[in-house]
């Protein structure tokens, strides 16, 4: 077995506030292999984005990684000195943020922003970098790139801007791309194009992709594997077909019910009653237990750990009990 591009082991991220230390990520583990697209899905505040930020080393005080490890192609990167992790960012891990409208510096031409990034990570000359920038823009599907390279961000539409952002993320040929809700802020009609672009790039370059989203439709279309997060933990992880067709975790079940039958229809997660607990008030035991229709006593006391269940892994006492019984 080859070394995964990204390997996260028992990651813990805390935010130290004056009242308490809030654990935003509590023991998350997953791998992404070369060329693989891992979808990370969950409600707001489930810890999806924080996981992405932790991987790329952008957790700022008062937040900190308090445990676990992150390995990029076998190299541990979670405790690198600032300067070294900087070299990793952009070079080996590309990042795409949610809102292309605010991700680009409005005062700089997009070409300059790309050239700047390229030249930070390579020793290409100014003109070579510029040529590369134009190629990149062409690659992400921007028409007339040699002209648009001198445009300012505000001259681009949202979808086009997200393409620019993608170009920026891949300009140093990274091993891993973290796409944090790359389509949320876009028109529905554009969303599919962007997702397709990310997928194509991942395939063409053999890049691993971590796609953070709350949109199950996107997950179903794009990902090879999917991780369902809830309250800073992974509730369920597994190949996308399995998880989508046969979700095990009660939360995942609810979530999958939200997959629209037709693209573009209501995607709201309305099936599950109640809402995710605040970080300061995560209940003991399984964090999902107050909303869970199947919860029993153990769920309120003991925290379930992710256990393999076929190709999937699920953190739920329901399956643990089944496992126990079958073992017995």
């Amino acid at each position: 077995m080859t070394v995964p591009v990204l390997s996260v082991r028992d990651l813990k991220v805390e935010f130290v506030t004056r009242r308490a230390t809030l654990r935003a990520i509590d023991g998350v583990s997953f791998d992404i292999a070369k060329g693989e697209v891992l979808g990370v899905v969950g409600e707001s505040g489930a810890g999806k984005s924080v996981t992405g930020l932790a991987v790329i080393g952008l957790i700022d005080p008062p937040g900190r990684i308090s445990g676990g490890e992150i390995l990029l192609s076998g190299m541990r990167i979670d405790h690198l000195p600032a300067e070294e992790i900087r070299r990793v960012r952009g070079k080996r891990i590309g990042m795409i943020f949610q809102d292309p409208l605010t991700s680009l510096n409005p005062l700089y031409r997009i070409g300059d922003q790309i050239v700047e990034t390229i030249r930070t990570h390579t020793n290409l000359s100014e003109s070579a970098a510029r040529k590369r920038a134009i190629d990149l823009l062409a690659e992400v599907g921007i028409p007339a790139p040699e002209k648009r390279v001198d445009g300012y961000p505000h001259e681009f539409s949202g979808g086009m801007r997200q393409r620019v952002v993608i170009a920026l993320a891949i300009c140093a040929e990274p091993e891993l791309i973290i796409a944090d809700e790359p389509t949320t802020a876009l028109d529905v009609s554009v969303q599919a194009q962007i997702i397709a672009l990310i997928k194509r790039l991942g395939r063409d370059h053999g890049t691993a992709v971590m796609l953070v989203t709350h949109d199950m439709g996107v997950i179903a279309e794009t990902c090879d594997r999917v991780a369902v997060m809830y309250s800073g933990r992974i509730a369920e992880i597994g190949p996308v077909q399995d998880v989508v067709r046969n979700p095990l975790h009660p939360y995942a079940k609810g979530l999958m019910g939200a997959i629209p039958t037709l693209a573009g229809e209501d995607k709201r997660l309305v099936q599950i009653p109640g809402s995710m607990p605040r970080l300061s008030a995560i209940p003991p035991g399984c964090p999902f237990n107050p909303r869970c229709a199947f919860a029993f006593d153990r769920c309120r006391v003991e925290r379930p750990e992710p256990l393999p269940n076929g190709a999937q892994a699920v953190a739920c006492h329901l399956y643990d009990r089944a496992a126990e019984e079958s073992a017995a």
Partner: protein, 326 residues
């Protein structure tokens, strides 16, 4: 762009007319100028004839019309005190005020931006806290008090710097400058500091706040995610974005600097327009007061226009909105 400039210019003219009305109506009633012209034992008949020759007995509307027509041609009449055309006096005094205002602004900008950037980037260091403290004191001490203290300390007690005036000035065409002589430069130091201190603290606080705001934006986060160096992020991306609003504010503040120069010039006896204005107020020298207000408004309005245009040059987003017909 042209339409925008034109619209702004029209607004500027509107402002100028409004200021004209205000200044005229204010000064028309601010005191009897005749008393300033003649000595106390001048007969009433003589006073009446002077009133008449000044046109002070005409209907107010007539006086205002005359005033506007003349002002449009930069004819502000003759100063009651100096018996010279006000435009000549203003031209003589303007270099002093502008030089002081520019020095103060440059001082304020350079130190304000440096201190602001530093205290935004190194928020918790001792020096940053010191800057914060200085800035608070800077905005909490009235200008006149600072001026008096500086004079007391550096001119009277230590004898290092001159206490008043501009020192030796050199004439370059119609402009006079104190920047080319040692005594002129020395004379500039205290007034510039006094005048610039408030602006400096203002700019420092603004830069700090803006910088902190900018550092929180998505594009900075994205820039970090792209692996750009801290240096490039702070001084390339963050600073440039910070400076856009700072330029506007500093530009607009330049008008304030000229107005605040009234106080500084009085304290340091700086032979500029502000001092002349204060003397004119004391002596009810109506032509000078009216001309000063109009001149200062003109400067304000011009600065506004320039800042607007400058803003569009710095910020490409605005260029787009403006060139699009509204």
């Amino acid at each position: 762009m042209l339409a925008f400039t034109l619209r702004r210019a029209l607004q500027a003219i509107g402002v100028m007319i409004a200021v004209g009305i205000i200044s005229f109506s204010m000064f028309r009633f601010a005191g009897d100028p005749v008393n300033q012209i003649v000595s106390i034992d001048t007969s009433a008949a003589e006073r009446a004839s002077i009133r008449q020759s000044l046109g002070l007995d005409d209907p107010v509307l007539v006086q205002f019309g005359r005033y506007l027509v003349n002002a449009a041609q930069f004819k502000f009449g003759v100063s009651y005190q100096f018996r010279q055309p006000v435009s000549t006096l203003l031209m003589e005094r303007m270099p002093a005020t502008l030089e002081l205002a520019i020095c103060a602004t440059v001082l304020a900008m350079v130190f304000g931006i440096l201190m602001g950037v530093y205290s935004a980037l190194r928020r918790d260091t001792l020096l940053a806290k010191l800057f914060q403290a200085v800035s608070l004191i800077g905005i909490s001490l009235p200008t006149f008090l600072i001026g008096i203290l500086l004079i007391y300390l550096f001119a009277v007690t230590l004898g290092w710097l001159p206490s008043f005036g501009r020192g030796e000035v050199v004439r370059l065409g119609w402009w006079t400058t104190g920047l080319l002589t040692v005594s002129g430069l020395k004379a500039l130091i205290m007034p510039s500091i006094t005048l610039g201190l408030f602006q400096m603290t203002l700019i420092m606080r603004l830069v700090r706040a803006e910088m902190l705001e900018v550092l929180r934006t998505d594009y900075i986060r994205f820039a970090r995610a792209r692996g750009l160096t801290t240096r490039a992020i702070h001084f390339g991306h963050a600073l440039k974005n910070t400076l856009v609003p700072v330029i506007t504010v500093a530009g607009l503040q330049f008008g304030s600097v000229i107005a605040f120069a009234i106080i500084t010039e009085t304290v340091f006896q700086w032979p500029g327009m502000g001092l002349m204005f204060v003397q004119a107020v004391q002596n009810v020298d109506i032509p000078i007061m009216a001309a000063y207000l109009l001149m200062v408004s003109l400067i304000f309005v011009t600065i506004n226009l320039v800042v607007d245009i400058l803003y569009t040059i710095v910020d490409p987003r605005l260029r787009a909105t403006i060139s699009r017909p509204a």
